[in-house]
Amino acid sequence: MKLSSKDLLGIKELTKDEITLILDTASGFKDVLKRDIKKVPALRGKTAVNLFFEPSTRTRTSFELAEKRLSLDVLNLSVTTSSVVKGESLIDTALNIQALGADFMVIRHSSSGAPHLISKHIDATVINGGDGINEHPTQALLDAFTIKEKIGRIEGLKIAIVGDILHSRVAKSNIYLLTKFGAEVRLIGPPTLVPKELEGLGVRIFHDMDSGLGGVNAVMVLRIQMERQGKGFFPSTLEYSKNWGLTSERLSMADKDAIVMHPGPMNRGLEVASDVADGPRSVILEQVTNGLAVRMAVMYLLAGVRE
């Protein structure tokens, strides 16, 4: 079994079988990460370029480490120090990097669709590291891996995603993946950030935290994006956390074994209380470890797709 596309642009384009293949392969890579020598020669001699047009420490370092563990040569391009500042176009940037011999390009961009545009013009493998408010496929894959590892399955589970869904590419990718696998997805948050139109994605919408969390098996908390404060989405962060902050009291509404997830970075005390984030049900740090294994799996499998 192999992946059908040379790129990983989104969860939307992946079949259930392809996602399962990625998650199964990630298990094997998780073993590698436990060894003393955490490196395998699988992609030795190939080159990966991390093209991050938006700031990111977490995703970028995760990809960088995953690439190094596969023995790839790694180049990190940060937009502020690149020719993009001189006005070079996106496609030209990508073509120039390919001309240097890049086999993989991991792209994060503030415009939705940027990686898709680039993939049409280059032969190298394009991996979407987050595009605008569209998708963040590797995040959803690592979230799915974490859920499967902790709970054993995705089908039939009730999973709540809490927060600024409207602007969240993490939420979108997760919604596509979890619904593909037959989970009941509940979106919880203020009506301004969780509009009714999202029901079209096959999810249930709640504006009341307590009823939304009833009996759920996993709670995914999203970061309150401070940069959107002051645009009228909610009166104040205090008001937000009073109504939708995940406290241990609210968590008790969920299933007794429910896990707490967060893509990071978190605003401690705001969208999630400290004792919950550090509590026994939190899998936030495991998500980070799993992210490494999942990204290794993605790159390993994409290397096997030849046109």
Partner: protein, 174 residues
Amino acid sequence: MLKELLDKKDMDRILARMAHEILEKNKGTKELCLVGIQSGGVHLAKRLAGKIKEIEGREIPVGSLDIAFYRDDLNIRKEQPQVRKTDVPCEITDMKVVLVDDVLFTGRSIRAALDALMDMGRPSCIQLAVLIDRGHRELPIKADFAGKNIPTATDENVEVSLEEDGLEDKVTIE
């Protein structure tokens, strides 16, 4: 045309003899461990460990090794090899490791297994036990313990099927 080379009884006798040979060469079970190469060698390694226990009365560690990441043909295959579990339950540094595989052919899988083992530690020595040696080595690799030597043509296919996989115990050539 499918031809059966070994049946269940043949295989059992061969494994018993190999277990004795392993014990003879290593003068017992001290610092000995078996590592089966995924996926053909894993069940065979467990069977050999079982026979060693019957003879010597001692249990030795048995592991499984996936060599997918160490293969030398990742660039030319049509699809990536499936990634399986690697579970070596003991520290292999200073141990005598006996690699176990079902069929020894070109020797490239063994080369990959050697690289994988070296990344995991520094064994005091590595020996190779295979059920079938079918010749046509492409690398300077030899088996220390071979169940049966079978001359084959390169286009022939030797299959070892095992009860643990839900099939009959037998070795066939086609």
